[in-house]
């Protein structure tokens, strides 16, 4: 029996409680042996039977409507973790006023091709709103798809919802209801502590609180840091060519020049020091090429060269003092000539991870692209068009984006480039529809 037909086991109080061995997991085999050793195994035999190789069954995409997979991690898909998962879901829906039935979370198995996989499944409760479109929960245990639908259902149930202006209702639905994007998570985290007090307030105050989320800096993530994981092109690196006394920023040193050739036909030079400076470390040539591969094609076309600088930016001490940011250091410079410089850092400091490296390059080259493409007067032409889109959308992709129009463009380009090909893309399309439409036109 698969998930769709599975009987829902009784809540945890009714689950047989024979003591098991150590909770330490030993993989699927260990779990099965452990489950078999409990009295609960026979009672739930239909649910917990071991996978039968070759048995036909629905694949993941055939998951029955209304059933979500909370976890398919073999480490946790065991009876003794059920109550933990129940508590997690209960906490998410309860904070939006939703009722929770522990029996809705149960052990089951799903078919993956010819194999069966043990999962912790959940039957969606209608009062939590529409079923999330994300059927398998993200592995970070954030339960954000459940949180999103429960939040929307919760605010809709408030008498004050009717007092929210119609155009803002749509914006709030997208802000609170995005299942995976970071803007929606931030908006829910901002509203969450206020929500329990709302039902006792007059409807007008409820509406004011809800509408206050729109345009609130506190309801935005600090930066647009969506995971960048969908490279649309591949690349190869040439053998290095030695260069004597290359003029890096702040120091001449011997270098090696590589050519990164991308599958879309772009070729970009990457310059790296032949030997790293003592006490400093930097990204590798392959990591620089990887960041280039993750750029939108229009951004990549603006880049002529990436320089992995041999020393830290010589301007750092001056700028840190002048702009009152002690200890700050440069990470990346993008220049009008199409040169991107990435600076090293002290070996005692960890280098930015792949997501920061890729996202920063999208952001910085987004500046170069927008100024070169749209001109320097940010009050005219495409900039003015963008401003109208900002006013219409009302929501920004990050707090940093609200610094000025140039940052709004760069941060939105970052969100666009980061999410393309993933479900978050369409969530942003709903959150900032006018700007997304403009980028789809400009960056396609």
């Amino acid at each position: 029996m698969d998930i769709g037909q599975a009987k829902v086991p009784k809540e945890s109080g009714g689950v047989p409680t024979k003591k098991t061995s150590s909770p330490a997991r030993t993989g699927n085999r260990g779990i099965r042996e452990q489950v078999r050793s409990t009295e609960g195994y026979d009672a739930q035999a239909a649910l917990l039977r071991p996978p039968t190789p070759g048995e036909a069954g629905p694949t993941v995409k055939d998951l029955p409507a209304g059933v979500l997979i909370l976890s398919s991690d073999p480490q946790y898909t065991d009876k003794q973790y059920l109550s933990w998962f129940r508590d997690q879901v209960k906490a998410k829906v309860a904070c939006w006023g939703g009722a929770f039935d522990p029996a809705s979370v149960y052990l089951a198995q799903k078919s993956v091709g010819p194999d069966k996989q043990r999962v912790i499944a959940m039957n969606w409760t209608a009062s939590w709103g529409t079923v999330p479109s994300t059927k398998e929960m993200p592995p970070d245990f954030s339960w954000s798809p459940i949180d999103a639908r429960a939040a929307v259902a919760g605010v809709h149930a408030l008498p004050g919802w009717a007092e929210v202006r119609a155009e803002n209702q749509g914006i709030l639905d997208n802000m609170l209801g995005g299942e995976l994007n970071l803007v929606s998570r931030a908006a829910r985290d901002e509203l969450r502590p206020k929500f329990p007090g709302l039902p006792s307030k007059p409807p007008k105050d409820q509406a004011a609180t809800l509408e206050g989320l729109i345009g609130s800096q506190d309801a935005l993530p600090a930066l647009s840091t969506e995971e960048v994981s969908t490279s649309s092109v591949t690349f190869t690196l040439s053998a290095p060519v030695a260069v004597k006394d290359y003029e890096f920023r702040g120091k001449k040193a011997d270098a090696e020049k590589y050519t990164a050739s991308f599958s879309d036909g772009t070729r970009i030079e990457i310059v790296a020091p032949k030997a790293p400076e003592a006490g400093l470390h930097s990204h590798s040539v392959a990591e620089a090429a990887d960041a280039l591969a993750n750029l939108p094609a229009r951004n990549r076309a603006r880049v002529q060269r990436v320089v992995l600088n041999v020393v830290t930016n010589p301007d750092d001490p001056t700028w840190a003092a002048k702009y009152h940011r002690p200890g700050f250091h440069s990470y990346m410079t993008a220049g009008a000539s199409g040169e991107v410089t990435i600076y090293p850092d002290a070996v005692s400091n960890p280098l930015p991870d792949a997501n920061v490296r890729r996202g920063s390059m999208i952001h910085e080259t987004g500046h170069v692209w927008s100024y070169q493409e749209w001109g320097t007067d940010t009050t005219k032409g495409k900039w003015a068009e963008w401003k109208k889109c900002m006013d219409s959308d009302k929501v920004s992709v990050s707090r940093y984006a609200t610094a000025d129009i140039a940052e709004d463009v760069a941060e939105t380009v970052r969100a666009y480039g980061s999410t393309k090909g993933r479900p978050q893309y369409n969530e942003y399309k709903a959150l900032v529809p006018k700007r997304w439409a403009m980028l789809e036109k400009e960056l396609q």
Partner: protein
């Protein structure tokens, strides 16, 4: 006798004039016309490393610190006043600074208004930032094992 004195004093006078000129040049950092190109002692922004003269003022809009001000090119370093674009040195006449507690962005613009370069500075590493929703770790239900 007088000629002999002049002949003896002349080299010293010449040395003094040369020394005074050199001192003047250093003191004024090449502020006069025809400043030498590529002089390593010219550390202020009046001239580019190639000898181009700066238009004079740099306007800074520092949104990160809510202030706006002008500086003379001679008051800032050459690196602050000039950016190399390809093989050409371009004078910086406008700087825009935005940022927050963890990040600073410095955009520098040329005389024609064009973006010359943009640099991101980041905060020094500190304790791992608090996540809005810390990743929980599933724990087994000990109660059901009794």
């Amino acid at each position: 006798m007088r000629q002999a004195w002049l002949a003896g004093a002349l080299p010293w006078v010449m040395c003094l004039v040369v020394a005074c000129n050199a001192g003047f040049a250093v003191a004024n950092q090449g502020a006069g016309a025809g400043a030498p190109a590529g002089g390593t002692h010219m550390t202020n922004g009046t001239f580019s490393p190639a000898g181009d003269r700066h238009p004079g003022r740099i306007h800074t809009v520092d949104r990160a610190n809510a202030r706006e001000y002008d500086e003379a090119a001679e008051e800032v370093s050459q690196r602050e006043a000039w950016v190399k674009v390809g093989d050409t040195w371009k004078a910086v006449v406008r700087v825009e600074v935005v940022g927050d507690a963890g990040r600073l962005e410095i955009r520098r613009f040329g005389n024609d208004g064009s973006l010359l370069e943009t640099t991101t500075m980041v905060a020094p590493p500190s304790a791992p930032p608090a996540r809005p929703t810390p990743v929980p770790v599933p724990t087994p239900d000990r109660g059901s094992d009794d």
